[in-house]
Amino acid sequence: MTRWASPDLVAAAIAGEASAAERLVGAIWPACFRLAASLIGDRALAQDAAQEACVIIHLRVRTVRSAEAFDAWAYRIVARESSRVRQRFHTPEAAAYENGFTADSTASMDVWRALADLSPGLRDVTVLFYFDDLKTEEIADVLCIPHATVRTRLARARERLRSTLGDYAIEPHAAPKEVKQHAC
């Protein structure tokens, strides 16, 4: 998983040190926002979701059992809040990823166009797998869905991406392992 903040800062926030939670939120904000933006496809809604996630992280970071568990926990919160915002505002799929998404290169435009073409369920696994390099079992844990569902969705997403982005290599980085389902 991507390291969102230094382990020392996370440990300080978990220990309840003065202002550590605020510094932690400041440190993870760019990652939170970019993840939410990738999942939702709208900057304004992503800001709402990322802010809500940061409020929860600020409020409850002391309940995280260890610094090692922080990243998975934070991923789960951002993914959940993004999903909530998406459901609440019924993000129009066709218009997604157009407003305010900087696309300096053709490749970036291709990526956003391809994501907009995916349903939210397929998009979530695609973002976590290809953007964040999460393993399929980690994705299952973050999205609170069975591991088999992640693999199915990923396979469907790949098919779809291949038809949209014929020129790209969209092969999995490593063969996913069979793991037991995480409790959500």
Partner: protein
């Protein structure tokens, strides 16, 4: 060779411009969420403490803001609205008593009252008092209900899961009210003592004795031991004690020429029911808007704090005494409880 989608995806994400984080918004919303969590616990405690009146199968339709149904050892609560006052003062209690639908006879415990919750706000027929011990931990919860609102007819419990009662308590009825006591810390003898004292006292006597135990300073989110230290130095008259959260607010309020609002009283209204449970996340919160320190006082406090280099990380509380337009300010160290006049 085809481009790698994963590499392109990561590059595309890095190009997303990130808006600046407004940490003040996070702080404010975090504080509001924290308060909601507290209210969720409070309402659950209220429902659970009321459950003890249920007995085998009974029903209490409290009316107004809180409705309760009992079945066996389960309780289902529909909480539409309630009001809480943290660290209630004499004026708060007198206001509640004056509009209550029943003659309120207060129980007397050798413990400080942490908060009072009542419902509905305009004509309370249910009042819960939570007590804390000298360390600030929950000691006991006592609920007073208008006898006229306890019904004996059995109606159908509304759909949705009922909450299993996890704690036991005891209850009795006096002339006008039903008293429910819930505490793991009170012995049977102590409960009996409370009951006897309440039966031998008049309503007026119990009220004046209860009011005598209330703080004489406005306490806003400050630990009890710090409040006790402030109480020892506070002169008679208008005193306000506030902690870290309000210390952080003071410079902004002073810049905008705004007063410091007394945040102790909060009304929770329009509480939606989700899967048969009250969901406080989407409840509407309303504050009374009572001014604790007027705008000119806030300016004076801000200037003093700035001059003395006191900020939100001082680990202290600030006591402000207002008298004839002049403000006297003390800093109380939360660790050592030492009091310094600024």
């Amino acid at each position: 060779m085809p481009a790698d989608f994963s590499v392109a995806a990561k590059n595309a994400r890095v190009q997303i411009a990130v808006p600046p984080l407004d940490i003040d918004v996070i702080r404010e919303r975090s504080a509001a969420s924290s308060a909601r969590v507290r209210w969720q616990r409070l309402a659950t405690a209220l429902a659970a403490s009321l459950g003890i009146v249920g007995g085998a199968v009974a029903l209490a339709n409290i009316g107004g803001g809180v409705h309760l149904w009992f079945s066996g050892n389960n309780v289902k609560a529909v909480v539409e609205s309630f009001t809480t006052v943290r660290d209630p003062m004499r004026a708060d209690v007198q206001r509640i008593v004056s509009v209550a639908t029943f003659p309120v006879k207060f129980p007397l415990l050798r413990a400080a009252s942490e908060w009072i919750a009542y419902s509905p706000a305009d004509k309370p027929n249910i009042i819960t008092i939570e007590y804390r011990d000298s360390l600030g931990k929950h000691y006991a919860g006592i609920t007073l209900i208008d006898n006229a609102k306890i019904q004996s007819d059995i109606r159908e419990m509304p759909a949705g899961p009922a909450q299993a009662l996890i704690s036991k308590g005891t209850h009795w009825q006096t002339d006008g009210e039903t008293v429910l006591v819930q505490s793991r810390h009170l012995t049977t003898a102590q409960v009996q003592q409370i009951k006897s004292a309440m039966q031998s006292e008049t309503t007026a006597q119990s009220q004046s004795a209860f009011e005598a135990m209330l703080p004489r300073i406005v306490i806003m989110q400050v630990p009890p031991r710090v409040a006790d230290a402030a109480g020892r130095v506070a002169p008679p008259g208008g005193n306000v004690l506030f902690g870290k959260w309000d210390i952080r607010q003071i410079p902004n309020l002073a810049a905008k020429a705004r007063p410091l609002i007394d945040s102790r009283t909060v009304h929770l209204v329009n509480i939606p029911q989700v899967k048969g449970e009250p969901d406080f996340r989407d409840a509407t919160l309303q504050w009374n808007g009572v001014i604790a320190i007027p705008a000119d006082g806030v300016r004076a406090v801000a200037a003093t704090l700035q001059r003395s280099h006191v900020g939100p990380n001082c680990n202290c509380a600030i006591l402000v005494h207002a008298s004839k337009g002049a403000y006297t300010i003390w800093k109380i160290d939360q660790k050592t409880l030492s009091v310094t006049r600024l």
